[in-house]
Structures are given as C-alpha cells and as structure tokens.
C-alpha cells in the first residue's frame, strides 16, 4: 500500500509543483513538502505488502524500499539545493512525477507494466524541464527531441521483447525437453537478450548510444541529470534484470555470441567513458561520461547469466546512481558558486569552499570504493564473471578511472585560486555581517534566520552536496538496507533483497 500511497502523493504533488513554476515560493513549498512525505512513505515500504490491483499485483520489497528511499532523498536534496541557489523549480516537479511513476513501475509484477510506466515517467522527467529551462530558446525543441527519442526507443524495444516473451513462441509457452533448447527458441532468446541489452544501453547512455546523455547533461542543470540518467535509468535496468532472470537466464541456451556482443559494448563504454571523462575540461562532461562508464559495468551484468551476476548488477546500479547523484550535486553547486564549469577556471575551489571539497572527497570514496563495500565487490565480481582473461585486468583498471578524473578535480581544488574562484567571496559562510531585510528591529531572531539563510545560501547548498555525497556513499557501502556482500566460500553472496519481476 505504501507504494501506491507514494504514487498517489508524488504524482499530484509533482504536477502542482510544475504548474506553479511561475510562483517560485509556492512551487518549492509544495514540492519540498511532497518530497519529505515521499521519503517517509518510501521508508515504510514493506516486503510483505502486496496489493492486488486492476488485474495485477503491486508488491513491495526490501530492494524497492532501498531504491525508493534513496531516490526520494535525492529528489528532496536537489529540491532544497535548487531552492537555495535560486534556480526555478523546473526540475523538482517532473522529478517527483518520475519518482511516483517509477515506484509503481518497479513494484508492478509484470515487466511490461514496469517498462511502460518507467518510459512514461522518464519522458516527463526529461522533457518537461527542458521546456521550463530552455523555453523560448532556439535550442529547446532540438534538445527535447534528442532526449525524447532515445527514451521512446528504449521503451519500445523493451516492450517488443516482453511481448515476444509472453507470446505463443516465447519461453513460457514453449515446452521443451529439460536441458535442451529448441533452436528457434534459442534464436528468439538471443534476440530478446540483445533487444533488452540495447534498450538498457540506450536508456543508460552507454557507448554507442551515449551522445544524447552527454548532450542532456551538458545542456541541463545538473539537478536534472539524476532523475533521468540516474534513478529512472536504474529502475529501468532493474526491471530488465528481473525479466531476463525469468526468461533468458532460466534457459540452458548458451547465447555466447549475443553475450560477447554485449560484453564488447560494455567494455567500450567502460574504457571510452573513462577516457572521455579524463580528457574533458568542463565538469558537466565529466559527470556525463562517468555515468557512461558506470553504464558499461551495468551492461556486464546483463551479459552474464546467473543469480550472482544479477545480484551484483543490482548492487552496482544502485550504488553507481547514488554516488553519481552526489557528483551531480557537487557539479550543480560548484557551477552556481563560482560561475564557471571549466576546470581551468575552477582552480582553488576547495580552498575557497572546503565544504564542497568534503563533498567531492566523499564522492571519490564512493566511486572508487574500498574492499568490502557493496559497489566495490559488485564491480569486481561483474568484471571477473563477464570479461575473459587478461582483458579483465584492463577493464578493471579502466573502471578505476574515477581515481584520476575525480582526483584531478580535487587536486585542482587545492591549487592557487583562479580569478572566478578568488572573486567568489559568497562561497564562504558569513556568521555576522549579513543584513536583516525589512523594517523594524533587526535583532529579531525570527527575521535573522531567513536573512542568515539568504546570506549563506551557497555554503548551505554545499552542505546539500555533502548530504548527497553521504547518501551515495551509504548506498555504495551497502547501507540503507541494501544487499549485503560477503566473500565466503561461494564468493559473492547476495542477500534476498532483490526486486523480482515476473514476465
């Protein structure tokens, strides 16, 4: 019931927030109140809470609770940061709608329902902010169409695969001899695997379908990135994992060629995404290409059969999205604080704003990981299972590219200050010399608080970035009820907190 309540609350709340965009304070009040309520409702999702509805079933799970809590918290943090930075509520409303629709899509027992809802939510979360941020500019229609088409393509491809799976020639209707697979069914399974992998690659922004993701991250405020390329994409992939588990992974067809193609795309994403994040100068591109790299690791989970890879994939996608939400928050606040997005203009940023330095250090820790952390073990497991021989070492090294591209940002942060950073005196907290606006007694504490918030909005936004980074690190470690990892006799050992989707 909590999932339904979450949707029932988030959808109208997000809609009202979007419609009130012209009245900024009212929009933020409604949006932030809705986001807080969504966090509470997400935390109350129970694994035993199953509701039959409209001929199907909406069910909770521990994994869904983890994802929904992190998603709702991220939405709340970005909403607060946007409010502090003075950006219009262009992202908060659509993000809440995406959260509500996405939660129902994940909770639905049917993969077709999940893909359909998630595609609808992604379209709204991606395109509506474009109209609000870029409305009236020449770039808006083109940017919107470039975001809309990949989302549609991913949704349509996955729905075709699901329709085939449920048809008379799908794996559920075809009776075969145990241990043997009908060649026609094997071909169908291979095509279905490729279709779902292609849909996931497009949705995640993996190479070669990365261009739209890079353009979107470049053109939109960083707060618009996590709802589309982060949480929404993660939910889509989790539904894909569930469908593949009950269709392709259940069969004994080897599908070596198909899995090889997916591994090739995944490896290309890991290596090229890492290189692109290294060579680009602006922080939005670093964010975008680091997401492309994470997408490559996720595709490795799709290419590999078995429950171990699926569980590792679930841990990975959840941790990667949460950590990159922290990076997006850092990008958003850094750009707003210093007025530049080029690394050459951002030299010395951490000296000017140590809070932002702490945020990026936490992001680095979450992105690279340490042995025992869920994300670290999941990444190592996926590469070991999917990539053969010496290539695995190369891919593993490439997967640690965040050490370099985030480390470079950190090193630049303690360098001598560039001019935009030196002139950004508002980046540091002001305890005393802020001015209380209005008439009357200036010492009134009630009026001093808003004045203090206004005077310190950039440092407070930096605190928001730290909170987003802590959220990412928590999920990367395996907190918030995420799956646990132990290197026992059986190697990677997933717990039973999976989001399971039936065909």
């Amino acid at each position: 019931m909590s999932v339904l309540l979450l949707a029932v609350l988030a959808l109208p709340g997000g809609l009202v927030t979007a419609l009130l965009a012209g009245r900024r304070r009212a929009a933020f009040a409604v949006g932030l109140a809705t986001a807080v309520a969504c966090v509470v409702l997400a935390a109350s999702i129970d694994a035993a809470d199953t509701v039959p509805i409209a001929g199907s079933v909406i069910g909770g799970s521990d994994g869904l609770r983890t994802l929904a809590v992190a998603w709702a918290l991220s939405t709340l943090i970005f909403g607060v940061v946007d409010a502090l930075l003075g950006d219009g509520p262009a992202v908060l409303g659509p993000a809440l709608i995406g959260l509500g629709v996405g939660a129902v899509g994940l909770a639905a027992a049917d993969a077709g329902i999940g893909f359909t809802f998630l595609t609808a939510g992604a379209i709204l979360a991606a395109v509506v902010p474009i109209g609000m941020v870029h409305g009236g500019t020449a770039a808006a229609p083109g940017l919107g169409l470039r975001a809309l088409r990949p989302l549609l393509a991913a949704g349509f491809i996955s729905l075709v695969a699901v329709a085939w799976g449920a048809s008379a020639v799908g794996p559920f209707a075809t009776l075969g001899v145990p241990g043997q697979v009908d060649p026609a069914l094997a071909n169908g399974l291979g095509l279905a695997l490729l279709a779902v992998a292609a849909a996931s690659a497009i949705r995640l922004g993996a190479v070669p379908a990365h261009a739209w993701a890079a353009r979107y991250a470049e053109a939109m405020p960083a707060s618009a990135v996590p709802p589309v390329l982060g949480w929404g994409a993660a939910a889509f992939v989790l539904v894909a994992f569930g469908w593949l588990e009950v269709t392709v992974s259940n069969s004994s067809a080897p599908l070596s060629a198909e899995r090889g193609i997916i591994v090739l795309v995944a490896v290309a994403s890991v290596i090229l995404g890492g290189i692109a994040a290294l060579v680009h100068d602006d922080v939005e591109h670093v964010l975008a290409y680091s997401i492309v790299q994470d997408a490559g690791i996720t595709l490795l989970a799709i290419s590999t059969p078995g429950a171990t890879a699926a569980a590792a994939g679930r841990d990975w996608i959840l941790a990667a999205v949460a950590v990159k939400s922290g990076l997006a928050a850092w990008v958003l606040v850094t750009r707003a604080t210093f007025g530049s997005h080029r690394q050459v203009d951002l030299r010395g940023w951490a000296r000017r704003s140590p809070i932002l330095g702490l945020a990026l250090a936490l992001v680095l820790l979450g992105a690279v990981g340490l042995p025992g952390m869920a994300s670290f073990e999941a990444r190592a497991t996926l590469i070991r299972l999917a990539v053969p021989g010496p290539l695995a070492m190369i891919v593993l090294l490439a997967a640690f590219a965040p050490v370099v591209f985030i480390g470079r940002l950190l090193v630049g942060g303690v360098d001598a200050m560039a001019e935009p950073v030196r002139s950004a005196t508002h980046a540091t907290a002001r305890i005393r010399d802020f001015r209380v606006a209005g008439w009357g007694d200036g010492d009134s504490p009630l009026r001093a608080v808003p004045a203090a918030v206004r005077a310190n909005r950039y440092p407070l936004a930096a605190v928001g970035a730290v909170l987003a980074a802590i959220l990412g690190l928590s999920v990367a470690i395996g907190g918030l009820g995420s799956t646990t990892v132990s290197e026992g006799a059986g190697g990677y050992e997933p717990s039973s907190t999976e989001i399971v989707t039936s065909p």
Partner: protein
C-alpha cells in the same frame, strides 16, 4: 471474422495513415484522434466499461493536448514555392497506405502462425482469408501498420508536431501488437499504456510550446509570412 472488429481495425489504420501523411496539422490531428479513440475497442473480449472508458478518455485527452499545443502556437512559417512539402509524410498518403497494407499482411501472417503454435490453438491453419482475420490478427495487423507508418515520423521527423503524432501512433501500435501476440492485457497494463500516451502528449505539448515561443521570438526579428491554422497564407502576409 467479426465485421465490427474489422471495421475498427480499418479505422485505426486509416486514422494512423491520415495522421502521419496529412500536410495540414488539423487533418493529422483528426487522424490521430480516430486512431487513438478506436484502438481500445480492438480487443476480444472487449475490456470492461471502466477500463474502456479510461482508455478512450486517455486517448481523447492525449489528442486534445497535442491539438491545444498546436492551436496556441504561432502559425508555421509559410512554405516557399521551391520546397516540395512541409508538413506530413514526404512519401504521401498513397505510399504510406501501401506500407500499412504490407504491414497488415505481415501482421495477419504472424498472428496466424502464432495461432497454430499456441498451446491453446487448434494447430491447423485456417483455410480462407476470413478465417485468418481473428481478433488477435486484426489487432496485430492494425498495430503493425501503425508501427510501420509511425516509425519514421517518430525518429526522423524534424518538427515536434510530426514527432509527437508519430510517437503516439507508434505507441498505440505497439500496445495493439502486444494485445495481438500476447493476449488481453490486465487493467493495470492498460492504465500504463494510457500513462505512456499522456506522457508523450504532454512532452509533445511542451516541445510545441518551445517551438512556438521560438517562432514568436523569430517573428519579432524577421518579417516572415505566416500560415494560418488551415495552412493557407494570411491575406495580410501576401
């Protein structure tokens, strides 16, 4: 063959071809409305009244959202005589119609094969053409035709109007094919389909609004002749 269902399937296909190939946006929107409103009836058994009403109202709302966005935007810039076409398919309705007929044949053939292979099916292919036109075959045929005509408009059209109309036709086609090959969907799945159509319509409305604002900005800087809603040039612009 159920003649009523066959008529509905024909209406869906004609609406899809009209929506994609019409050069005037109003004619395209009429085709879109026909295709979206007729498609929910293309199922056997017909869904219960509440589900049917939800789908029809959702389809009408989707079509209305696109229409409202088109109507409130400024007119399209007038087409110079050197340009062959502006709105609608570059192929024209006869070619789009032939593509739809081809897709119908493929869809019916696929459905017939699925019927033979289905565990619940007879295992014997029908002897005549009318026997082939089962409700599933009609849904598959109309759906595949919608997909074929909507595909290019969705992924290759320049403007937001054609892309939105194409995406709506394509989505509707996909939902029909899903019904045709995998049986009747649950009510929640139909609700998800409505949500998808509305999301596309809203996104299209937003993009049309952005195009309209850009057009309004452009008109302030250059005196380009504009078309009225009917596609004809305004008298004052001649």
């Amino acid at each position: 063959m159920n003649p009523i269902l066959a008529g509905v399937a024909l209406a869906v296909t004609v609406g899809a071809v009209l929506a994609i190939s019409a050069r005037e946006s109003r004619a395209g929107l009429v085709g879109l409305a026909i295709a979206l409103a007729a498609a929910p009836f293309l199922a056997a058994p017909i869904p219960n009244v509440s589900t049917l009403a939800m789908r029809v109202i959702g389809a009408a709302l989707a079509a209305y959202l696109v229409r409202a966005a088109v109507a409130t935007g400024p007119g399209l810039p007038a087409r110079p005589l050197s340009e062959p076409t502006r709105g609608g398919s570059q192929l024209g309705w006869p070619a789009e119609g032939l593509l739809a007929i081809g897709a119908w044949i493929v869809g019916v053939a696929v459905s017939a094969q699925l019927e033979v292979l289905s565990p619940a099916g007879s295992g014997i292919p029908p002897r005549d053409v009318f026997g082939l036109l089962t409700p599933e075959a009609l849904a598959t045929g109309a759906g595949l035709a919608s997909i074929v005509v909507g595909l290019v408009a969705t992924f290759a059209a320049r403007g937001a109007v054609r892309t939105t109309i194409g995406a709506l036709i394509l989505s509707q086609g996909l939902l029909l094919v899903r019904i045709g090959v995998a049986g009747a969907p649950s009510d929640l799945e139909q609700l998800a389909g409505v949500a998808l159509l509305l999301a596309i319509a809203i996104a299209g409305g937003v993009l049309l609004g952005a195009e309209g604002q850009r057009g309004a900005d452009d008109s302030g800087t250059e005196a380009s002749p504009r078309l009225s809603g009917s596609g004809r040039m305004n008298p004052g612009d001649r």
